[in-house]
Symmetry: C2
Subunit: 332 residues, 2 copies
């Protein structure tokens, strides 16, 4: 009896092994790919116990190869970046040892500007972007809770899908990760921002009073009253009006850049979010954990592109100002 793999085994590196990188890396590892995790603080835990994923879709453990430095891994077929966008300055140090001429470099990071940061290091045609629709929690080093969803929308950087796009999507699907190839990655980014800018932004801006008052003192990690999850934003007349205004602003910027997003798309986002349980967007989770916020990728780069396109975004401008004031350490 022969084991016939549906797809060839790839050498994969996961750079940025937080909840996101660990989850998708663990799935690819479990599907049989030669998977290398580039780790720092979690190195010992993952080497000893692997990555344990628990969740609705079933629990499993994966045992990826563990490395502390990219040179230990060497050139891969596929490099998947799960770093926070606030860590992109580390690209030149972390990525070149992993990337050769045939390597596909995929960023799964939030927001705008990540593919561009990769394009400063590698040829554009090696770069892909993936938009993750997933709800994860990192419980402890090497322990991930998979709460819901998991789909990736995968696209090529500044070009239409290629044969290898479908190949990589197929590898995800074989690893139990739903994956759609999108014809236009930039459009997909702006569609995701229609959700992220209001919910990540307002959910975090709702903590502004606390943050302003704690300034000076070290803000202590923890969940706080007055920091609003998605359900509470939508339960409130004032906040939900801001959600809708921001969605309209984001759609108007996207349209000026050639990405038409119908109003019905925004309405559907609101409707689906209303049906979801209380959800803490990643920026709120970062704020409550005392971590840097992905302000550039999620808010400032969209704002910059709005200005470049001559679109006025008064509410996004106020949101950026409120978020920048949240904590000096995150103002970057």
């Amino acid at each position: 009896l022969l084991f016939i793999p549906l797809l060839p085994v790839m050498k994969v590196a996961i750079v940025g092994c937080g909840a996101l990188g660990s989850y998708y890396g663990a799935r690819l590892c479990r599907a049989g790919h030669e998977t290398h995790f580039l780790l720092r603080s979690d190195y010992e835990a993952v080497r000893a116990h692997g990555v344990r994923v628990g969740g609705a879709a079933g629990d499993f453990v994966a045992h990826p190869h563990c490395a502390r430095r990219p040179e230990e891994i060497g050139v891969c077929d596929w490099v998947i970046i799960g770093l926070k966008a606030t860590a992109n300055a580390a690209f030149p140090e972390l990525l070149p040892p992993l990337v050769g001429a045939p390597t596909a470099v995929l960023t799964l990071q939030n927001g705008l500007g990540n593919e561009e940061a990769l394009a400063a290091l590698f040829p554009a045609e090696q770069i892909l972007g993936g938009l993750c629709y997933v709800s994860l929690n990192r419980l402890a080093p090497g322990r991930i809770a998979h709460l819901a969803h998991g789909r990736i929308a995968l696209g090529e950087f500044r070009r239409p899908p290629q044969p290898r796009t479908e190949r990589l999507a197929g590898a995800f699907r074989q690893a139990d990760v739903p994956c759609d190839v999108v014809p236009d990655l930039a459009l997909a980014h702006w569609e995701k921002l229609v959700w992220n800018i209001p919910f990540n932004g307002l959910g975090t801006a709702s903590c502004a009073g606390l943050a302003a008052l704690q300034a000076g003192a070290a803000a202590k990690p923890g969940r706080h009253q007055a920091c609003l999850t998605t359900d509470r934003l939508l339960a409130d007349a004032g906040w939900s009006e801001l959600v809708e205004q921001l969605m309209t602003e984001v759609r108007s910027v996207a349209a000026a850049l050639g990405h038409v997003i119908p109003e019905e798309f925004a309405r559907l986002q609101v409707r689906r979010t209303r049906e979801m349980a209380a959800y803490r967007p990643s920026t709120l989770v970062d704020f409550e954990a005392g971590l840097p916020l992905e302000l550039d990728a999620l808010f400032r780069e969209p704002q910059r592109q709005a200005r470049a396109a001559g679109v006025v975004t008064p509410l996004l401008d106020r949101l950026c100002a409120v978020l920048a004031a949240l904590a000096p350490a995150t103002a970057k």
Copy 2:
């Protein structure tokens, strides 16, 4: 059979007939005093239907005399001021026709500086201050909900209690208003600020994110998610630490001014507030109603006295800045 009044009937004017003035005025009216309400927008309603007070202590209707201008009332034995402290600029227009040489002028207003504003118009020995511990709601013109409590702490402005202080306290008590005469009005003010500054201040500051984002648009009245009632402030580690820090700052200012407030007093305030139901401090109610906030009386005058006394109050300073930014219209 003769009706023998326990106390002589007084001619009383109520200036500022919101929930506070209406409630205490209705009680004095019902007790038999010749009570005049100085009214503007509620004139027709109160003249037609009186003041209807509903609440735990029983419902009643009082029919005070109604006037639109102070000249219609003339000089009184007792003038009681229930105006918002933001309206003190109207004192010179509203009060002189009501005040003769023997008139007692009592302010029931929040915070510091109200007696001083009266002292610019009348001799200091005519002035009293009363601190109200009461939970009221104005439901409609002439309709007041009395939710809880009602005690007044009554004191003379810059002097110890006089025989007339006891007389006025007796009039309140006879009208079913618990009233204590306090030996030191300034101390009583600072004791009340130990509660008001944290709970009114932080409860309102918790709305800062929403207010900053709605700037430009007209903020719509209404209760909002993320605006914290007393129970939610105390349920949160971050916010309740700010409550305690503010109480410590207020006590340190009071001490520098000669008003020693023991730490146990502050602890008792927190404990009692924890035992209370969810409560919306007046400044939060004002914010949610789109009304001007009593920032000068409750926050800025205490801050000014702290600076004059050389006491540093970093958290009160940040709180004043956050509150001032809440809405341009309230920054005064």
